[in-house]
């Protein structure tokens, strides 16, 4: 025995394998096969949680994932702490540590239970009406108190060390739900040869059959049929069986997401296993066999621990060998609860009375009476006695005139309720299928599907076991057929079992209490009562969505699985309309909560986003590089010597390039090879520059705009042959420039015979810049004369460098004599080695992106994305000369012609010079005409680039300023927290204005 409420025999638990666990620090023992809920129940633990608002003590209500009360935190260690788990979904394992939530200091004595006394004030929506005075008290006093009281579990405090996997799979037929209908559907689909996935949220297949051992299928006990069916399915190579796997989300085009709990139930999980697996299934056909949920009756104080669903009590006794109490009163509006009464009585529970809300009971009434049970029809419960546990009920007698009076008091420790069953249409509704209202049975059922999906079994309103099996099999066969597989002979099952009552009673049950004051709970977790819903309606909240939002009914972690229909019925009664007229709230995914980690999967750390490294990355690392992220690339920011600061390194690198020579890894630059008879025509149209007549062997600096005329990229176009161009882009712009090229080539100018191929990763690029660049490079070059006349600035040629086939560019982004050597990526590291050695031999240095930025800023070269921001034209940034205005057409021509893009008031690129050479302006600082600008002053522009220039011995800055070019020579102000800095507007070139060094 593992507790006073464990039955001597029965259930699917393994009584030979006791399992020790703790709950709130107390040690208990359960059996293999128990859930935390069944083990606690067996141990006689009545109170398992506290409610959200009133902190009322609460017990177990349901045996499934729809449980509203029993939320616990399960703790393995600081990082492996999971709050808000439903106790029914926590499988018992050795050493399990669970804690209750939302109580302080303890579950038994919770200080916040004082809220319950304030419940006459704490009605739905009360917080919208108060806490407004004094104004500052909301965020200083009231809100902190509310926040501290709200919430359930605590999030873990350490990073989760567990892994999460994701699988993407296709199948012909996905069957969601492994009860009788789902098993039959999977069987039919498997027999047709279809690829089948069958999943169920529980640890075993069988669904409702697991709680009904007396059921038979084709003359065999249900358990035997399940085993045989699973064996058959497992033998099919194209069938995947997934237990502990909930189909939680139905997305477009039959994309269904499943969450598999892989290790939570294991005592010592294999660290190689993921904790969970997110299956992303694209199914040709889906069979939804999600079953139905029992609905509680709503009556005063129906939230007391010990009031539970009849079907849950039946499941606990039959599946887990737990009798939830000793003396039970059954309160029902459906026949289903009678089965629970019989089964509990067989387990030794005294059935004090069955109170049947229906005036004449149902077919089960006479059977029960014949079996010796006491049944009172037209009766109910007026109120429940007891606070931390049920001690009894006062019955309610419904009179012929429609009134209800309190009856007698019945002592009991267990109240079983059943209003009927609600088909689980969640997945169907998520798939955007239309629900239909079945007036006869007062329930919503799947109507017209939106996706290739069909529902079978209880979720489709089918009540008897045989019908569920038949319907499931037919649905599986039809799904397989629609997925293109052969026909399967129809099959009929002979079965005996309890039929559930689909539909039934909904809303607040009649009782003799004051309905404005008694609390009959609809949403247990959120403490929403029937009178709360009526208050909302009284205040004008008529749509069920308004009622839901105002009262918060159905918005708890259980998403209203057991409460939504009751809430709807209370609202319908209050508005005097029918249920379907009030409408149904949207069924939002997920069906049950899904961990963030499952969605994130392996996308963490370095796998969060791919890391792109250049071929010489390892060399730069050895050379001491400090890297920065530029898009996905890692670029060397600077390469400090041992003990050298980053700032000192940058200054040294900058000086060295100007004085001698520097080597820079420019491999991240975007590169596109544009080839074809019409390549020149294409590029001439694509860039703002005139390129048609670019000679072979020459390069041109190019500017790209879209048709709107705003600069979005720049680069170099180099003509290798009449029909072959090597085009470079910015590091970040490579993909979008290539995409835009493809767009124009494929859709706008399909007549042009051109191919544009991304070659960024194919070539490593080493820039040699500085007065000694030629001296460094020349001895390595074969097949090319590097003399200034033979290979002037903006030339390109193929040759070999250090024995490697190369494309050699004479270009410069520093203002110095410069070359960029392109070699196949595989040779990048080798080339680096050779060049680095020669650079060192000439007293030069390696330099990184920061030095590159300083050098180009000294020279006034813009960086697209830093000095431009998507709102500037080529002319704004001083590149108006690049625009081939005479061309008949180019991308951006019409855009640039707009008056507002050319008129006065444009922000233009200029330089700023501050008197004090020590002052380096701040990038992003604003520029004003007023030295002491009051708040709201119009900014003339902002500083786009600012550096300490080691070569000039002063700070330099580039800026975009309104009508900047006409302001050259005037003073503007840069307001900073410590006061404005005056700056003179100057031309944006600080170094070698004539460009002599470039052409050296």
């Amino acid at each position: 025995m593992t507790g006073p409420f464990r039955t001597p025999t029965g259930g699917r638990i393994d009584r030979t394998r006791p399992i020790a666990f703790t709950f709130d620090g107390r040690r208990y023992t359960g059996f293999q096969g128990d859930t935390l809920a069944s083990a606690l129940l067996a141990a006689g633990v009545k109170v398992v949680g506290r409610s959200f608002k009133y902190h009322r003590p609460r017990g177990l209500v349901s045996a499934g994932s729809d449980e509203p009360n029993a939320l616990v935190t399960v703790i393995r260690d600081a990082g492996r702490t999971t709050p808000n788990l439903v106790a029914n979904e926590v499988e018992l394992r050795e050493g399990l540590v669970a804690e209750s939530q939302n109580r302080w200091p303890s579950l038994a004595f919770d200080v916040s239970a004082v809220n319950d006394l304030l419940s006459p004030i704490f009605v739905s929506g009360f917080y919208y009406k108060t806490f407004m005075w004094p104004k500052s008290f909301w965020s200083k006093v009231f809100e902190p108190v509310i926040r501290a009281a709200a919430g359930f579990g605590r999030a873990p405090t350490a990073a989760d060390p567990d892994g999460y996997a994701q699988r993407f799979v296709h199948c012909d037929v996905l069957v969601a739900g492994g009860g009788p209908a789902g098993l039959a559907a999977a069987l039919a689909a498997a027999e047709s040869g279809a690829r089948v996935i069958l999943c169920d949220e529980g640890p075993e297949f069988g669904g409702s059959l697991l709680a009904e051992p007396a059921a038979t299928i084709d003359s065999a006990p249900a358990a035997q049929w399940i085993a045989a069916t699973l064996a058959t399915l497992a033998a099919h190579p194209r069938v995947t069986l997934l237990t502990r796997t909930c189909a939680f989300g139905y997305y477009q085009d039959n994309f269904v997401a499943l969450l598999e709990r892989v290790t939570d139930h294991r005592a010592a999980p294999d660290p190689a296993l993921p904790r969970e697996c997110l299956w992303q299934v694209r199914a040709a056909q889906v069979v939804i066999a999600a079953g139905a949920l029992e609905r509680p009756l709503v009556f005063p104080d129906n939230d007391r621990p010990g009031v539970m669903l009849a079907g849950a009590a039946r499941a606990w006794v039959n599946r887990w060998g737990v009798a939830a109490g000793a003396r039970a009163v059954v309160y029902t509006a459906s026949d289903s609860a009678y089965a629970a009464a019989h089964d509990l009585r067989s387990a030794g529970v005294e059935i004090v009375r069955i109170l049947d809300l229906r005036p004449d009971g149902g077919p089960a009434t006479a059977v029960a009476r014949a079996a010796g049970l006491t049944v009172e029809t037209g009766a109910g419960i007026d109120r429940v006695l007891g606070s931390t546990a049920v001690t009894g009920v006062v019955t309610a007698r419904h009179r012929a005139d429609g009134t209800t009076a309190a009856g007698e008091t019945l002592a009991c420790d267990l109240v079983l309720t059943s209003a009927g069953w609600t088909p689980s249409v969640h997945l169907f509704s998520q798939s955007r299928g239309r629900l239909r209202w079945d007036a006869a049975r007062a329930t919503f059922l799947p109507g017209t599907p939106h996706e290739a999906a069909r529902s079978a079994g209880a979720c489709n309103g089918t009540a008897s076991l045989a019908d569920c099996l038949d319907e499931g099999f037919a649905a599986g066969a039809a799904a397989a057929r629609d997925a293109g597989h052969g026909a399967v002979a129809a099959r009929r099952f002979a079965a005996t079992g309890t039929a559930i009552d689909i539909g039934g009673f909904a809303g607040e049950a009649p009782h003799g209490g004051n309905r404005d004051r008694t609390r009959a709970f609809v949403d247990l977790q959120h403490d929403v009562t029937a009178k709360d819903i009526r208050l909302a309606v009284r205040e004008g909240f008529r749509s069920i969505e308004h009622v839901k939002r105002y009262t918060t009914t159905g918005m708890a972690t259980d998403q209203g699985k057991t409460s939504n229909i009751n809430a709807l019925a209370v609202a319908a009664a209050a508005t005097g309309t029918s249920l379907p007229a009030v409408g149904l709230t949207t069924f939002r995914r997920p069906y049950t909560p899904v961990s963030f980690g499952a969605f994130a999967g392996a996308s963490r750390g370095d796998l969060f986003d791919p890391v792109r490294r250049t071929p010489a990355h390892a060399r730069a690392t050895v050379a001491g590089a400090v890297f920065e992220d530029v898009g996905q690339w890692k670029r060397a920011l600077c390469l400090p010597a041992p003990g050298e600061s980053e700032g000192a390194a940058v200054a040294r690198e900058v000086r060295s390039v100007r004085a001698t020579v520097g080597l820079f890894d420019a491999s991240t630059l975007g590169k596109i090879e544009v080839v074809g008879p019409d390549a020149a025509t294409f590029l001439d149209r694509f860039y703002v520059n005139a390129l048609a007549k670019l000679p072979v062997g020459r390069c041109r600096y190019v500017v790209a705009t879209r048709d709107d005329g705003f600069v979005y990229d720049d680069g170099i176009v180099a003509r290798l042959a009449p029909d072959r161009f090597h085009v470079t882009t910015t590091t970040g712009g490579a993909a979008r420039v290539h995409a835009l090229m493809e767009d124009f080539l494929q859709t706008e100018w399909p007549d042009l015979d051109v191919w544009a191929t991304s070659i960024t990763e194919r070539w490593a690029v080493m820039a040699i810049q500085g007065p000694q660049a030629r001296a460094v490079l020349a001895p390595l070059v074969e097949g090319l004369d590097l003399a200034p006349e033979a290979f002037p600035h903006m030339s390109v040629a193929t040759c070999t460098v250090a024995g490697i086939p190369a494309r050699l560019f004479r270009v410069s982004f520093t203002g110095e004599l410069g070359f960029e050597v392109n070699v196949p990526a595989d040779h990048g590291a080798a080339l680096w080695d050779r060049l680095a050695a020669r650079v060192a031999g000439h007293g030069g240095t390696l330099y990184g992106t920061e030095a590159m930025h300083v050098l180009r800023a000294e020279k006034g070269y813009v960086v697209v994305g830093q000095d431009t921001d998507g709102t500037l034209t080529p002319d704004d940034v001083g590149l108006g000369w690049a625009v081939g205005r005479a061309k008949a057409d180019f991308v951006g021509k019409a855009g640039l012609a707009r008056p507002d893009l050319a008129g006065p008031g444009r922000r233009q690129l200029v330089g700023l010079r501050v008197e004090d050479p020590e002052v380096v302006l701040v990038e992003g600082a604003q520029i004003t005409a007023d030295p002491a600008p009051p708040p709201g002053t119009h900014a003339l522009g902002h500083v786009t680039s600012a550096y300490a220039s080691p070569n000039l011995g002063r700070g330099i800055a580039l800026a975009v300023v309104e009508d900047g070019r006409s302001r050259i020579g005037t003073i503007v102000h840069v307001p900073m927290p410590g006061g404005s800095i005056a700056a003179t507007v100057v031309a944006p070139v600080f170094w070698d204005e004539e460009g002599r060094r470039l052409h050296a």
């Binding site: 919208y128 806490f131 407004m132 909301w138 939002r588 909560p593 994130a600 994305g865 992003g924």
Partner: protein, 417 residues
Amino acid sequence: MRFSFLSLLRNAFSAHRDWPEQWRSPEPKPAYDVVIVGGGGHGLAAAYFLAAEFGIRNVAVVERGWIGGGNSGRNTTIVRSNYLLEDSEALYDHSLKIWENLSQTLNYNVMFSPRGILMLAHGHHDVQSFTRHLHANRLAGIDSEWLSPEEARAFCPGLNISKDIRYPIGGATLQRRGGVARHDAVVWGFARAASALGVDILQNCEVTGIRRGPDGAVTGLDTTRGAIATRKIGVSAAGHTSVVLEMAGLGRLPLESTPLQALVSEPLKPLISCVVMSNTIHAYISQSDKGDLVIGAGTDQYVSYSQTGGLQITAHTLDAICELFPHLRRVRMMRNWGGIVDNTVDRSPILGPTPVPGLFVNCGWGTGGFKATPGAGHLLAATIARGEAHPIAAPFGLDRFARGRLIDEAAAAAVAH
């Protein structure tokens, strides 16, 4: 009945039987001076300000479904004004100033909570861009401050400022005046206050046509609850703006409607005290008073009116959240939904008159319209009342597209090099 703790207490003694409807549900009148199309926060705010500030009380708000059922009730409730461009700063700060007193103005606790907006910078380009924001905001008189990674974590405990993550946090800006509010309460508060001033709120009233006279000016609307005559229509229909304006002959607009998803976790004890946003890795998160973590995802890439979106969008958001807060991997998503947002090419709204006389529009708020609710409503009301754009709204007119005077927050902030 005025809302206060005393009135709540008094009603507790009468079992709350005496609370009146928060807003009336009248039958449509044959004519109104102004009809606002769209019963979201923006539309209701416009109606309220027409009545409260501009003395125009013969106003109807027509709503296809139930008020607040669109983006007003589907967003992540972020309120801030730390935008980059001067026109945007003026617009959003106008709104933020109304937020600061909104509960008192409306006598409805909209729970505006200036918890602070922490915007994370990852990498050098972000730092540059954020610095520009910071200086621009300071010049505009909008509070904004720079926090080092350590200061950011001190402000938001749990934030992962490790240098070893894929995109380490290089710092953050903080707007302390920014925060969150209770979205439904904003809708209901405006509805209640507007209704009390005489505004008719007509729910389940879908516009089926816009009538225009021989001069092209609007003369009224056809709705599923009958024809309504009016000379002035203000359209505040978010994702459905294109659908409504097409009825007035404005078939093509600089708008595209896309799904935008959001999600909440299960309720947790207080954990994240402010709003944390990262544009670079695409995540924003706050925690509601109820304890749910409220998380915004990105838009899907295609035009849709389906109010649903793909799992990959949610997954991408949550992997970013787990990068920033690695201890949240075991926290679970409780609910996920979608709205339809109307995006302009420059990610700035359109607010002002249209080429159709008497027809005004407030749309194009994309993913960030909630924060503008009171301000946009006020400016639309002012524009309708005056017949011409309010000065703060003027730059946001429909004419800016032909002029090329886009207010491009996205380009200005997000161009990478």
